[in-house]
């Protein structure tokens, strides 16, 4: 289990390093300077590859640190995915639906994900979005999008 985890982690680091090197190929260089904008990205990519090799070696020698905790059960995994999808949904729908609707929906669904009842979810959705509206919009003067509620904006 730890070995597979480490192979995946090392591979991800190498992939990131290769992407950095590939991206740095297009950076311009100036003749008068020996060091350009690609120097640090290439050094960092080299460091990532060496780190990945170290992680592979640790895994190969059985010297890797074990996971801090057991993996999530099915319910935990679903909750994890649910929260990720909620954040994606919030980013996509915030400009369309506006802060209030997006916030209320996020609060309602996340309360359910964390095991709250529908009643609690509804109360939290309404009260939470109103309180945060007052904190950010009225008190801190943050411009929050009104979206579908634009006709009733104040």
């Amino acid at each position: 289990m730890t070995g597979r985890r480490d192979i995946l982690a090392g591979a991800a680091l190498i992939a990131l390093a290769l992407a950095m090197i590939w991206g740095a190929r297009g950076f311009p260089s100036i003749r008068a300077m020996a060091y350009g904008p690609d120097l640090f990205p290439n050094i960092i990519a080299g460091g990532l590859i060496l780190s990945a090799l170290g992680i592979f070696l640790e895994a190969f020698r059985g010297a890797a640190p074990g996971p801090d905790h057991e993996g999530p059960d099915r319910r935990g995994a679903l909750s994890f995915v649910g929260i990720v999808l909620l954040v994606v949904g919030f980013a996509v729908f915030l400009p369309i639906l506006g802060f209030h609707v997006a916030a209320a929906l996020t609060l309602m669904l996340s309360t359910r994900i964390f095991g709250g009842s529908w009643m609690l979810a509804t109360i939290l959705a309404v009260s939470g979005s109103v309180i945060l509206h007052y904190i950010f919009y009225s008190f801190l003067r943050v411009v929050l999008p009104w979206g579908v509620l634009a006709p009733v904006a104040w």
């Binding site: 982690a9 904008p37 992680i55 994890f80 954040v87 609060l107 996340s110």
Partner: protein
């Protein structure tokens, strides 16, 4: 800067109010199992955007100070440390609470934390101006080596696995390369997105790394905390008993607070490592070492004093050199830089008010913590009953909207998500987060100063060692790298048995 200007911070109603509110906030978040002091600060940062720099620094200082202490509360009552800094002595504090002394234990920890914090501030006040005088002579060579030394220290103390600590550092440095480069002003890895030209926005990045990742972990693994039925002592009896215990252990407090301040000043070594080391030292010098881990108050006093002293210690390199001592000071430096202030020796002359406010806020926060921490201890059993289903959704929305408020752009939410998932993946692979944070904060400083030095030296690398201080700092950095390589080689060569022993000794740093 004099004592009067530091003490007069308590007379400024804005700062006083900010510190009071933030100590209450820190006490609440810190006492919640699984919600760390760093997360408390990450969630606070969007609000600091709307404060002036002095008030923002005071808010961060007050929140951290109290959150670190408040981590003891859920540790003692639930055996789940509220912050990793309380993990070292959780077994003792829990057993003491179970034996019918929850309030006495927590008030003793509170008094030790306050004393530790105050001693840490005194050392901070005395040491930083001297160090600042020294560092005023620094050129880009010294600053480059100092930042590199800071990053190397973070790798050294990051965790038991050297390759993973390095991986974390390089991930942070990779994130720091995004945006316009310093050499020729070319946009790097921005994918044509103009909003990324200034780099990855710092506040959403911190919210993602510390708040969303903890929420995701809580969603995947968290369970409702079960507060067992406890015998709770009368309040004043507990305060008197704790006072007597504290007076008996003042030598421990002095020793651990001084040690904790020094450990806190090492980049990457935060309050949790300070507490673990203080606990181990305490056991070594105790007359009852066999009682440790079985409900002995001595370790709680030492650990509590050390972790709060370390909070102040971490500000020493942050203020003097602009090198963060831990994740929280990394965030604080980011906040100050966003407000146009660059921590470093110059800040002592250019902005003495900020420096004295930070010192004064530390002092004030530690004193007010007697009140707010005492309140948290008194109400602990009620606070810990706030259900996860109420707390977590509110924190989620606060995190998302807090990130959005800073930039006014949905990109902030995507950054929060990507870095939240990255931090989750890193934790899963046992890659520590602290070196990455330092990499994000210091990446540009390292690159800027390297480029300036290279231009001055016309590409001659030996010039990096030409000045005395630069040569010493460079030599120290090279020594640390050599030590790291030897450590990594030995761990890999000796294989699992050696590693298990080392992991047992070091697994506390992994708990971050």
């Amino acid at each position: 800067m004099d004592l009067v200007s530091i003490l007069s911070v308590g007379l400024n109603p804005t700062i006083l109010g900010t510190v009071l509110v933030c100590t209450l906030y820190g006490a609440f978040i810190g006492s919640m199992p699984g919600l760390t002091a760093t997360m408390a600060v990450a969630l606070l940062v969007p609000f600091t955007w709307f404060m002036d720099p002095v008030q923002a620094a005071a808010a961060i200082v007050a929140t951290t100070t109290t959150a670190i202490f408040a981590g003891d509360i859920s540790g003692a009552l639930l055996k789940i440390p509220g912050t990793p800094a309380s993990a070292a002595y959780v077994e003792d504090s829990y057993r003491l609470a179970q034996s019918g002394q929850p309030r006495t234990t927590l008030f003793t920890a509170l008094f030790a934390s306050v004393a530790g914090g105050v001693i840490g501030v005194v050392i901070l006040v005395v040491a930083t101006p001297q160090l600042a005088d020294l560092s005023r002579q620094f050129s880009s060579d010294e600053v480059f080596w100092l930042a590199t030394l800071g990053l190397s220290c973070a790798v050294f103390v990051g965790g038991p696995s050297v390759p993973r600590n390095f991986a974390s550092l390089f991930i942070g440095l990779a994130i720091a390369t995004i945006g316009i480069d310093v050499a020729v002003g070319h946009p790097r890895y921005t994918f044509g997105n103009l909003e990324l030209y200034d780099g990855v926005s710092f506040i959403p990045a911190m919210i993602g790394l510390f708040a969303l990742s903890e929420l995701l972990r809580n969603a995947a693994l968290g369970k409702e905390a079960n507060l067992a039925r406890l015998t709770v002592e009368p309040l004043w009896g507990a305060v008197r008993a704790a006072g007597a215990e504290f007076r008996r252990r003042w030598v421990n407090v002095l020793r651990s607070a001084s040690g904790g301040t020094v450990i806190g000043a090492l980049p990457g070594a935060g309050a949790d490592i300070a507490a673990w080391i203080a606990y181990a030292v305490s056991r070594r010098f105790s007359r009852q070492p066999e009682a440790y881990g079985k409900g002995h108050i001595e370790g709680v006093v030492d650990g509590g004093a050390a972790n709060n002293a370390a909070v102040a210690g971490a500000w020493t390199p942050a203020l003097v050199f602009g090198i963060p001592g831990d994740s929280v000071t990394a965030i604080a430096i980011g906040v100050l830089m966003m407000k146009g202030l660059t921590p470093g020796p110059g800040i002592f002359t250019s902005d003495p008010v900020l420096v004295s406010t930070i010192f004064g806020s530390f002092l004030l926060a530690n004193i007010l913590m007697l009140l707010t921490g005492g309140l948290a201890v008194s109400l602990a059993t009620q606070v810990l009953r706030v259900p996860r289903a109420v707390l977590m959704p509110l924190i989620l929305l606060l995190a998302l909207i807090g990130g959005y408020a800073i930039t006014g752009s949905v990109l902030a939410i995507w950054i929060i998500l990507v870095l939240g998932l990255l931090a989750t993946g890193m934790t899963w692979a046992s890659i520590p987060l602290a070196p990455a944070i330092l990499g994000i904060v210091l990446g540009q400083i390292v690159e800027d100063n390297f480029m300036v030095s290279m231009m001055k030296a016309q590409g001659d690398l030996t010039e990096f060692f030409a000045r005395d201080v630069a040569a010493v700092l460079g030599g120290l950095t090279v020594l640390i790298w050599a030590a790291l390589l030897i450590r990594a080689g030995l761990t890999i060569y000796k294989g699992p048995e050696d590693f298990r022993r080392k992991e047992d000794k070091n697994d506390r740093s992994q708990q971050t």
